[in-house]
């Protein structure tokens, strides 16, 4: 049976949140793209953090130790100079 977890993703730029249902094999990358698409973000670089840790894009939900009710945050990655 596939395990699913429900997490809350916060938009660091606006403070709004959205709940996402994830499966173990979903990747952090997919969470980023899903949330960025939901908020119709401009093209740009984004990262997800869980607490004080940035999550690697290639990691799965399982590998990133994302569990039920986790709070994640979508952050735009500042690349200007």
């Amino acid at each position: 049976m596939r395990m699913t977890v429900r997490v809350r993703v916060r938009n660091a730029e606006t403070g709004s949140t959205v709940d996402m249902e994830l499966e173990e094999e979903n990747t952090v990358q997919e969470i980023i793209e899903g949330a960025a698409g939901y908020w119709e973000k401009d093209a740009g670089a984004y990262v997800i953090r869980k607490g004080k840790k940035l999550l690697r894009g290639q990691q799965t939900v399982l590998q990133a130790s994302i569990i039920m009710s986790d709070d994640l945050e979508l952050i735009p990655d500042p690349e200007g100079g």
Partner: protein
Amino acid sequence: MDRMAELLRVDHLEEDRWERSMRVGWLDMDAVRSAQVLVIGAGALGNEVVKNLALSGVRRITVVDMDQVARSNLNRCVFFREEDALSNMGKSEALAKRALELDPQLEVRPLIMRVEELEVAEFERHQIAFGCLDNIAARLHLNAHAYFHGIPLIDGGTLGTAGKVQVVVPPTTPCLQCAMNRTHLQVLEKRFSCTGADTSFYEPKLAAEITTTSVIAAIQVREGLKLISGQGDRCLRHLLYYNGLTNDIQELEVPLDLDCPVHARREV
């Protein structure tokens, strides 16, 4: 011996340019004065970084940038002037020229080129690199070369009121590429701040703000001074994220990506 030459004057402390800097306990001014640093990018961040380096006593600075000064740079680049924009002066040239006004003993070497064109020997002759770039492709190039040559890279980035600093010290810390994902690759070649009419091909999401740039550049240079002064154990090891609207500063852990090609190359 001329006894007059030994006389102490009450204002002698005011005549030494570096007297106040010498009082900073953790700062190794001899190391700072002899350091050779590489600054990649002479935009807003590059201007602020060079200003802070020069005022901190760093004397030998190489500045690399392919661009020319545009009038729209003048709201956030401390070394650029109207005449530089009118004459299409190279950013690194203008920066090198004006930095001498801060300290005539400075040796600022301007190189008008892309970081990708920089000779490998340039990485070998400098002991630390500052990333002040506006696109991910150039960042990745600098990241890989600095890591391969074993020189610390202190990278800064800004976006409106937000900014970041990441310190990469090979071979122990994660690198810039470790913190990237597919969204970075999707905007790999896009530039995030260029305003030159002849070169701009990307509309920045948020305008650059000099106050954010100043904060980020100050943190970059302080971390650099720590490394130069042998205080690396006090240095950032991950990524510092700054939110100027909420006054929030946090160090976020970047996990080392063992599949990252930069580290894999290092281990070969």
